[in-house]
């Protein structure tokens, strides 16, 4: 009944039949069906690439690594049932899941059961703030991402003069991540002297943003700060052009980071800025090789989702290697001491600003230039300079 997905390739590489090799199993709770399956697919691809790499390099101290993958049907109680099931199987740690409404209950349960959880996709602050001893997140959170946006705006101010960027309008969906990112953004805007001239939320599934964008047009914001999932971001960009809402900076979180954003928006995608945890042109060693492997496994241009899946499993494998035992406490200890460099980012779990076991990851600012996602900030990791300000729609 249990479907154990085995993507291990270590044995065939040895060239002869091995005696039933000892295995190390890791639990994965991922959204493979239901509304979050889009993301689940991509995370799975990333994890499979990491699994191949781990096993090609000797597995976990000579033992083959295996993933025990369970679907959470994009709902919380199935994820909790999956955790219980995996705990029964005796896995030393679990990686999961995407939505915060699923990952939050998982984090609560696993903290109670004293079992390490490596967060796969959820970026909501609440998962690691206040957090617990057992929950680890290598990817970013709302504070880090909003911080990166405003660091970038500050950087543009420095380069081009304070008077240039004064006002910001915010537009975001009413799901957990967009709201949390918008709220953090509002705090930062006040702290750093930006005036908020527009603040509108919309219900998920809205496809007509014209009334909001028309209202914004009257306010003439310098920056439009949008947090939207895939199709909402596409619709917003198309309709901005249609209503003629010009801003000096257009930042669209999440939606604009996906490769097919450019396909669906066409040349209106240019100049859009977006924060990601990983980009294929970032100046980390090994990046090209990883990008190629992810591309091959995904069958399309890889995104930060695949990279985050890869990252989560690499972190798990690294900890298991150092733990020297499958005892949960030993694994937790090892995770705590993580000091890992991957082509995605560097990982160490710190406690800071009220966060616990959060990797203080350096997020990247991408800008779409001539239909390509290009890293433009922070300066030392950038591949190109940002283009500023965005030209008016009429001049394109």
């Amino acid at each position: 009944m249990k479907r154990i997905l085995t993507a291990a390739i270590a044995a065939p590489l040895m060239g002869f039949a091995l005696p039933a090799a000892a295995q190390v199993e890791i639990g994965v709770v991922n959204s493979l069906s239901g509304n979050f399956a889009t993301f689940g697919e991509r995370y799975l691809t990333g994890m499979e690439v990491a699994l191949e790499e781990v096993n090609a390099n000797g597995g976990i101290n000579g033992e083959e690594l295996e993933l025990v993958i369970q679907d959470d049907r994009s709902e919380a109680q199935s994820a909790l049932a999956a955790v219980e099931d995996l705990e029964n199987e005796g896995v030393p740690l679990i990686i999961g899941s995407y939505a915060s409404s699923i990952t939050g209950p998982m984090a609560q349960l696993m903290t109670r059961q004293e079992m390490p959880l490596i967060v796969l996709g959820s970026a909501d602050n609440s998962i690691t703030k206040p957090g617990s001893d057992w929950v680890f997140r290598a990817k970013h959170n709302s504070t880090i991402v909003a911080g990166t946006y405003f660091d970038y705006f500050d950087y543009l101010r420095e380069e081009h003069g304070e008077d240039d960027l004064q006002t910001v309008a915010m537009l975001y969906g009413n799901a957990a991540w967009p709201v949390s990112l918008a709220e953090t953004g509002k705090e930062l805007a006040e702290e750093r002297g930006y005036e908020i001239v527009g603040d509108e939320a919309y219900d998920q599934g809205t496809s007509d943003f014209r009334p909001i964008l028309n209202n914004f047009r009257a306010e003439e914001p310098d920056i439009l700060y949008v947090v939207a999932y895939a199709e909402d971001g596409v619709a917003i960009t198309r309709q901005m052009r249609e209503v003629g809402l010009d801003t000096k900076v257009l930042a669209i979180d999440t939606a604009a980071a996906l490769p097919n954003f450019v396909e669906q928006v066409g040349d209106s995608a240019d100049y859009v800025a977006t924060v990601v945890s990983w980009s294929k042109d970032v100046q980390y060693p090994g990046i090209e090789d990883l990008t190629n492997r992810l591309r091959e496994a995904a069958g399309s241009e890889p995104s930060f989702y695949e990279a985050e899946g890869y990252l989560a499993l690499m972190v798990a494998a690294d900890a298991l290697r150092r733990a020297d035992s499958l005892d949960r406490d030993a694994v937790r200890q090892a995770l705590d001491e993580t000091d890992l460099e991957t082509p995605v980012t560097t990982v160490a779990f710190d406690d800071f600003d009220g966060f616990k076991n959060q990797n203080p990851i350096r997020s990247l600012m991408l800008q779409i230039q001539d239909g390509e996602h290009v890293t433009v900030f922070p300066e030392d990791l950038a591949a190109e300079d940002p283009t500023y300000p965005n030209p008016s729609w009429d001049d394109r």
């Binding site: 069906s33 509304n35 219900d203 007509d208 014209r210 309709q239 396909e263 066409g266």
Partner: protein, 294 residues
């Protein structure tokens, strides 16, 4: 002055969005009017139309509207088949039985699409996606205008079908009074099949017409559209094609005005609130004649 411009802008957008809603609702008004079935799969039928357009665009490079050639007959046949296999056997059961059956169909369509196409949202990018006509300072979206044109064509055609053909008269008779229709020799069972086919065909047409504008995700888009369609048909009044247009326009107007002048976070609530008010105080719909069985 600026406020007047923005009011005019919002009014015209409300009308155009209303055209989109009318398009989504018109198939359902037929199905609900004749069969009194809460068809939970209606939005998924629309999504199937979107995927049809997407597939032919991707593989053969067709303009999305060209795939109507496939969507129209396929929609009708699938509708007739679904009615025959799933709904006809439970026609005498309480209404929630057919509601659940359509819910099952909705789950099956959504998840089959997920398995075939993956979860990523699909749309067809056309060059005129962001174009707008300027009337003074008011901008009219070209893509909404086209959608409105298609809506007018489809609804006009349906009106002619219902009012000037024998088949159409039988449908209307069945909707008004099933027993009476049977007494005058109309095979209402066959009419129900044809109506469901017609409804699915209209839904798929809507999907094809709206793909440059909306996005298809396998499991999430369908229910959202289904809900909109129900609001549209209750607002307008049941079983009459013109009423779907009226309902769509009212919904578009209420939503756009609410989002522009109150708070966009409650956009859907304005439509639903209006829907409740109509349901409670004028159950025949804003523009419907009085209906005996409400």
């Amino acid at each position: 002055m600026a406020e007047l411009v923005s009011l005019l802008q919002n009014l015209s957008n409300g009308l155009l969005i209303g055209g989109v809603y009318a398009m989504i609702g018109v198939g359902l008004t037929l199905i609900f009017g004749v069969m009194r079935t809460i068809n939970f799969a209606h939005g998924d039928f629309v999504v199937m139309g979107m995927y049809t357009a997407f597939v032919f665009n991707m593989i053969l490079g067709w303009d999305p509207y060209f795939s109507l050639l496939v969507a129209l007959p396929a929609g009708f046949l699938m509708g007739v088949l679904l009615e025959r296999v799933v709904l006809a056997p439970i026609v005498d059961k309480p209404h929630e039985t057919s509601l659940l059956a359509t819910l099952g169909i909705s789950l099956i369509i959504g998840n089959a699409l997920l398995l075939i196409f993956g979860g990523e949202s699909k749309s067809v990018h056309v060059d005129y996606a962001s174009m707008a006509l300027s009337l003074g300072e008011v901008k009219i979206s070209v893509i909404l205008l086209i959608a409105g044109g298609v809506t007018a064509l489809v609804i006009g055609g349906l009106y002619l079908l219902l009012h000037y053909t024998e088949f159409g008269r039988s449908i209307r008779a069945t909707a008004e009074n099933r027993l009476g229709a049977e007494l005058v020799g109309i095979n209402t069972r066959r009419i129900q099949g044809a109506v469901f086919g017609l409804g699915m065909m209209l839904a798929m047409t809507a999907g094809v017409a709206l793909i440059p504008l909306l996005f298809a995700t396998p499991t999430a888009t369908g229910p959202i559209l289904t809900l909109k369609a129900f609001v549209v048909i209750v607002l307008g009044g049941l079983g009459r094609v013109g009423a779907a247009v009226a309902g769509g326009l009212v919904l578009g107007m209420v939503e756009v005005m609410g989002a522009a002048y109150i708070a966009s976070a409650y956009r859907d609530a304005y439509g639903l609130l209006f829907f409740l008010i109509i349901l409670l105080f004028k159950p025949e719909g804003l523009f419907g004649r009085s209906v005996k069985r409400v």
